[in-house]
């Protein structure tokens, strides 16, 4: 019985250390990926600057249009021009 209990206790210690270690790795991997993507593949942040044309589309609206076209056409469609009337 004592053997089984000491075995269970060691599983408790090893188990908790491993779970903490793995979730620590989740944090490390996540942070490394965020830094790498921020450095090499950043997306322009904030709304797109308006051009000379007064009919420029806000970035949020544009993103919604792109997502809608992407979904409807299964990724095959492309937006070439968006005009305000």
């Amino acid at each position: 019985m004592e053997d089984i209990l000491s075995n269970a206790l060691s599983i408790l210690v090893i188990g908790m250390i491993t779970v903490i270690l793995i979730l620590g790795l989740v944090v490390v991997v996540g942070n490394v990926l965020i830094r790498l993507t921020n450095k090499f593949w950043p997306l322009p942040d904030g709304p797109v600057k308006k051009g000379n044309s007064s009919g420029a589309i806000p970035a949020g609206t544009m993103a919604a249009i792109v997502a809608a076209v992407d979904t409807v056409t299964g990724g095959r469609g492309k937006i070439t021009k968006v005009e305000k009337k």
Partner: protein, 401 residues
């Protein structure tokens, strides 16, 4: 004439109905009532409840038989045709889909395709509380041994504390398949009771002041160092990178975690793999859920279920669950002692799996104390890391026990 009546009587199941049969029917009716009327995890409790009913119709040959009956010696087993022919279709389903450990990872693939790692990636430090909330698993392992369970059974009982149905089933299949029915029932019942259990524990250990810690205010006061400038790219690379790292450290967690991360990857890639994500979350997951529920329910025959061990599992499972919630709360409390950017302890309470119900319950509790304190996205961070944590804990148990 009497002979005809006698033959008629023998054809029916009346002669084989015992009081144990009636008790099992009552248990099945309760499970069906909880699933249908109370809507407690209906997708699982309804098939499990009906499976219990099917298994306990005398003479129907739907109950799952002991694995020793399908062994033919030298580590070899009867083939699936023989199993179906001799023991019926539910045994065919059980030995082909459950005993092989096939369905839980398939369900995890669907769970992965439904999971958004975004909240966790935005609040990475909260991922640690998904680890603290696994303490119930390992603590109850020791408690169960003291109660007379053997090591394999104790480990299967402890995993209920992870609050993750597929993980509990997968671990039990590997370690103590004879306890599959009661452990699955306990795991899913306590998951359904998250809206009762989390408030019960949280109200015991969290002070009024702690309930009011506003995470958004904290974020404004102490903004995170790094903003994510390309979330889509991070979300696509994350499951690949994490899967690779975890596979090296805990290979035995790969069947569950690997499938979870694969499901998540096909979801995050977007339109080019959307058909795979739809299949994983729709037809595949639904089919797997039906077969899993029915086959697990069918393991609960009277002779297997009506034992003292079942009561031990029900009580032990609750303790494991409650300890996991408590562990998460105290981990946050301890963390708060050393930092200025405080965390609401409810975030720790959601460090077990049970996504997203645990987060929703914690958010509602926070809103009760302060209607402007929305903590859902923070709870989701520890909640999602809890899914990873419990899969890793399962892998550890399978390797070490």
């Amino acid at each position: 004439m009497q002979e005809i009546f006698s033959k008629l009587f023998n054809m029916t199941a009346f002669g084989a109905i015992t009081y144990q049969t009636v008790i099992m029917w009552a248990i099945a009716f309760v499970l069906l009532y909880l699933g249908i009327k109370k809507k407690y995890e209906p997708l699982l409790l309804v098939p499990i409840g009906f499976g219990v009913l099917l298994a306990n119709f005398p003479g129907a040959q739907m109950g799952i038989v002991d694995a020793s009956l399908i062994e033919v010696g030298d580590g070899r087993y009867k083939n699936l045709f023989e199993i179906a022919h001799e023991y019926g279709i539910l045994n065919f389903l059980y030995f082909s889909l459950i005993k092989t450990g096939f369905l839980p990872p398939i369900i995890f693939m669907g769970v992965g395709a439904l999971t958004d790692f975004g909240p966790m990636l935005r609040n990475l430090r909260l991922a640690f509380f998904g680890a603290a909330a696994q303490i119930g698993i390992f603590t109850v392992l020791i408690g169960a041994i003291l109660l007379g369970f053997n090591m394999n059974e104790a480990a299967s009982l402890g995993i209920i504390g992870g609050a993750d149905g597929p993980t509990a089933i997968y671990t039990t299949i590997k370690l103590a398949p004879h306890l599959l029915g009661p452990i699955a029932i306990a795991a899913y019942s306590y998951m359904a009771l998250v809206p009762v259990i989390i408030p019960l524990i949280a109200n015991m250990f969290i002070s009024k002041k702690e309930f009011q810690i506003n995470m958004r205010e904290m974020d404004k006061k102490y903004p995170p160092k790094h903003q994510i400038k390309n979330m889509k790219a991070v979300k696509i690379i994350f499951p690949i990178a994490l899967g690779t790292v975890v596979a090296i450290f805990v290979p035995s967690s790969v069947p569950l975690l690997g499938m979870l991360l694969f499901g998540n990857l096909v979801k995050e890639i977007g339109t080019s793999t959307s058909r795979l994500a739809e299949a994983a979350t729709g037809p595949i997951m639904n089919t797997a859920t039906i077969f899993l529920g029915l086959a697990v329910g069918a393991t609960m025959t009277a002779e297997v279920f009506l034992t003292g061990k079942t009561i031990g599992i029900i009580v032990g499972g609750f303790i494991a669950f409650a300890l996991s919630v408590t562990g998460g709360i105290f981990a946050v409390k301890t963390y708060n002692l050393f930092v200025t950017k405080k965390i609401n302890p409810l975030v720790g309470a959601t460090g077990l799996s049970a996504v997203p119900m645990a987060s929703r319950v914690a958010n509602e509790m926070a809103l009760k104390h302060n209607p402007a304190n929305h903590i859902l996205q923070y709870c989701m961070a520890s909640n999602i890391s809890g899914v990873i944590g419990s899969a890793v804990a399962a892998g550890i148990l399978i390797s070490l026990v």
